[in-house]
């Protein structure tokens, strides 16, 4: 080998040795990355285990965000809208729609591979994304299969059934990886089915444990339902997984399921090794309006009325904002965050009391909020700097019907939204007072919320505008018209020393950054 080549090789090796390892070798996702996600990653649906969707990146600021511009866009060229939060690991993005995963180079927006699951039965209502552990992805299908694939090329490693689609189950969620447990949840409201969380072995697909949210189907005077639609959060110090459960079935009729209907519409804390229930708090006892309690259980450490607390916050579909002590599930605060007309107030445990006069009726009842709820699957964000819980809310009204001829199975009634709007609300978590709002337009805005330490709030409005707002007062600092409906939550990461914000609209993924020097 000649001298010049030797010098070249020595120089290159030295450079490799000097570069931080996370950017050099493809490592996949390990427990350390999930616990402490580096700046150049977004290794799980929420980014980290807390669910706060709050980034410490400060390159993009309220002062320079007006210069934010398009780095690249990726067009999926198909008709389903992206609802997933992408993962960013080792410079590659992974995002989904039902039956599809794209692996895209985060630097260029170039597709590396595209996996399609064969056309399947089951509801194709949406898909929230994949999970990753080591070098493997975990992906749920509409017909309730969990598929493990190699991240490098989409090769399928194994495929297991996690629920029976012929009974009425389907799956849409991004699994949660805790230790060597891949945690999945199920959906299915058009049949009277029991909800559950299942823990799956990442190597083999074998079931490790299952926690059932409701009693077995057919138990007299007991509810079914409690679907575990959305990705939970995790506290590694307490070693507790937090998960929300869905509404009871039959959905709009409560006569066959008197009482609270545990554990539907509940926030539950489980031991991730065993699936054992440690505590539960019900956000909507005896629900008859399809208001799942599956919104992000956001974990916040901070002060509550002068005392240091480990808290859990949820802006729930039924219109109530909850703050709990996440060590034991005790309620600290419960307050509406928009118009609600279905309750008789809040009980001693902090749970709303449903008003029987506002249960669905043959001639209809005017209900606030509507079935879609005061918020839905889109992520809220907790801005630690300002102490604000920021949520894309949907003040709304609807009419709910149920009559004997509708039966006692599945939906068992009908409901219709009559009016609603999108409203971004920044809630002071200690008082539930809304410090600022930002109008998002008529109907419903579907964008989730991301906040950053530099004082920015990223979201979108009902007209498809991506927005960057000042977190202190909600004023618009930047926008870009996307041309379609935004139905996903933003993410951010730093790559090559450049901060990117990723948002999607329709079937297109957009990457935003400040112009390169």
């Amino acid at each position: 080998m000649n001298l010049r080549k030797t010098v070249f090789l020595i120089t290159v090796s030295a450079l490799i040795a000097m570069t931080p390892s996370s950017t050099m070798l493809a490592q996949g996702v390990d427990s350390q990355m999930l616990l402490h996600p580096p700046a150049d990653s977004w290794p799980g649906y929420h980014g980290d285990y807390s669910g706060r969707r709050h980034s410490s990146l400060t390159q993009i600021t309220p002062q320079n965000v007006k210069n934010l511009s398009l780095a690249w866009a990726f067009q999926t060229d198909q008709i389903a809208s992206i609802k997933s939060s992408p993962l960013l690991v080792d410079g590659i993005l992974y995002f989904t729609v039902p039956e599809n995963i794209w692996a895209v180079d985060a630097r260029s927006g170039h597709q590396i591979w595209h996996y399609t699951y064969p056309r399947s039965p089951g509801d194709h209502i949406g898909h929230r994304g994949v999970a990753m552990y080591k070098g493997n992805l975990f992906f749920l299908s509409p017909d309730a299969h969990l598929v493990s694939l190699e991240a490098k090329d989409g090769t399928v490693l194994w495929n297991v059934t996690v629920a029976d689609v012929t009974k009425g189950y389907w799956t849409t969620m991004a699994p949660l990886v805790v230790g060597n447990h891949v945690l999945i949840g199920v959906s299915g409201d058009f049949d009277n089915l029991s909800g559950y969380i299942r823990s799956i072995d990442p190597e083999t697909g074998a079931t490790q444990w299952q926690w059932d949210s409701t009693p077995p189907v057919g138990t007299p005077n007991q509810t079914t339902g409690g679907m575990t639609w959305m990705t939970g959060t995790y506290d590694p110090d307490l070693n507790l997984v937090y998960w929300g459960t869905g509404n009871p079935t039959p959905v709009l009729k409560g006569s066959t399921r008197p009482g609270d209907d545990l554990y539907t519409c509940s926030i539950v804390a489980l031991n991730p090794e065993t699936g054992k229930l440690v505590w539960a708090f019900q956000v909507s006892p005896h629900d008859t309006h399809d208001w799942d309690g599956v919104e992000t259980p956001v974990l916040v450490d901070g002060e509550f009325h002068g005392e240091k607390r480990k808290m859990l916050m949820q802006s729930s579909r039924n219109g109530y904002f909850f703050v709990l002590d996440r060590t034991n599930g005790k309620n600290l605060l419960t307050a509406p965050y928009g118009p609600v007309n279905w309750s008789l107030g809040v009980d001693a445990q902090g749970r709303p009391i449903p008003n029987p006069a506002k249960e669905p009726a043959p001639d209809g009842r005017l209900i606030a909020p509507d079935e879609a709820g005061m918020t839905n699957y889109r992520s809220p964000s907790f801005d630690s700097k300002n102490g604000l819980f920021i949520v894309d809310a949907h003040p709304s009204f609807s009419i709910y019907f149920a009559k004997p001829a509708d039966g006692l199975y599945g939906w068992a009634g009908a409901d219709y939204g009559v009016w609603g709007k999108g409203l971004l609300e920044a809630i002071d978590y200690q008082t539930a007072k809304i410090r600022w709002t930002h109008e998002l337009g008529p109907g419903v805005a579907g964008a989730g919320v991301l906040t950053t330490d530099s004082g920015l709030t990223f979201t979108g409005d009902a007209m498809g505008n991506f927005l960057a707002l000042d977190s202190s007062d909600g004023k618009t600092l930047w926008h870009a018209g996307s041309g379609s409906r935004i139905v996903s939550s933003p993410i951010t990461y730093e790559l090559d020393g450049r901060q990117y914000v990723l948002t999607s609209s329709g079937g297109v993924m957009f990457a935003w950054a400040l112009p390169q020097a």
Binding site: P339, D363, L366, K403, D415, W419
Partner: protein, 278 residues
């Protein structure tokens, strides 16, 4: 936004190499009006023999391409098209004698475009729609519906009293004026939805330019950044909101303000009263 959705839809169709005119229903106003679902009894739909599976399958594929965008993949209603499984026309149809003309001619007044297809293709769509209606009636757990007969629990006199009094409806509406014959234009659930919030109604807006000139038109688009209207001659004009002052005629908000004031009895009474205005 609507344009892009139409364009994307066209893109998909072109990719699948179909030669049909683009589905413009996304750009049209949704269909509501005289055609209300009504009662569909299982016996009505059950009478005929089941259609051959192959015909239903090809109808399903064609429905997905031509119709699902508005009517939903299972014909159960979608973004802007009614639930065909509860349609009186579908129930009354015999082998396409009523459905066929609707497909071929569209419903221009309601935003459905004509769909140009061969007789065999129309037959497959008819087979699919009838099969879907049958399935919907058999499906235990799906969303149910509301019949006009469910909405008759109120009292017309009490409704009129509310209309003229506390409800404040008479401030903007008149039973012999704008609401004359309203119950002939809408019935059942659609009448109640319109009553609670007439979501198709367009607002007026006045835009005042820096020069002092003002233009009043029908509001067509509004977000934080842009206001657009159709002027009195029907021409679209828009401005950056930062460059003009604008005022939207917000009288429709009276409907929203009533939401927190109505009792359910008020709503039922109003419904029965409005149904006397034929």
């Amino acid at each position: 936004m609507n344009f892009l959705r139409s364009a994307l839809y066209v893109n998909v169709l072109l990719v699948t190499t179909l030669l049909i005119s683009p589905g413009v229903c996304a750009a049209q106003t949704p269909t509501h009006g005289k055609q209300s679902p009504g009662t569909v009894k299982k016996s009505d739909a059950d009478e005929s023999e089941p259609y051959p599976n192959a015909l239903v399958q090809s109808g399903s594929a064609l429905f997905r391409q031509d119709c699902a965008f508005c009517h939903g993949r299972n014909a159960g209603g979608g973004e802007s098209g009614p639930d065909l499984t509860r349609s009186k026309l579908v129930t009354a149809d015999v082998d396409g004698d009523k459905i066929g003309p609707v497909i071929r001619n569209g419903r221009p007044d309601k935003g459905m475009p004509p769909i140009d297809r061969s007789d065999e293709q129309i037959a497959s769509l008819v087979a699919f729609i009838h099969t879907q209606q049958k399935l919907a009636l058999e499906k235990k757990g799906g969303r149910k519906g509301v019949d006009a007969s469910d909405l008759q629990t109120g009292n017309a006199d009490a409704g009129q009293k509310y209309f003229d009094g506390v409800g404040g409806c008479a401030t903007c509406h008149s039973p012999t004026g704008d609401l004359a014959g309203i119950a002939s234009r809408f019935e059942g659930l659609q009448l109640e939805e319109q009553m609670l919030y007439p979501k198709k109604a367009k607002s007026k807006v006045t835009v005042t330019l820096a020069s002092g000139q003002s233009i009043t038109g029908t509001l067509e688009y509004l977000d934080e950044f842009t206001v657009g209207l159709f002027d009195p001659t029907g021409v679209y004009r828009s401005w950056r909101t930062r460059d003009v002052k604008y005022k939207v005629d917000a009288s429709i908000n009276a409907h929203v303000e009533l939401f927190s004031k109505y009792t359910d009895a008020d709503i039922h009474n109003l419904m029965v009263y409005l149904q006397t205005l034929r």
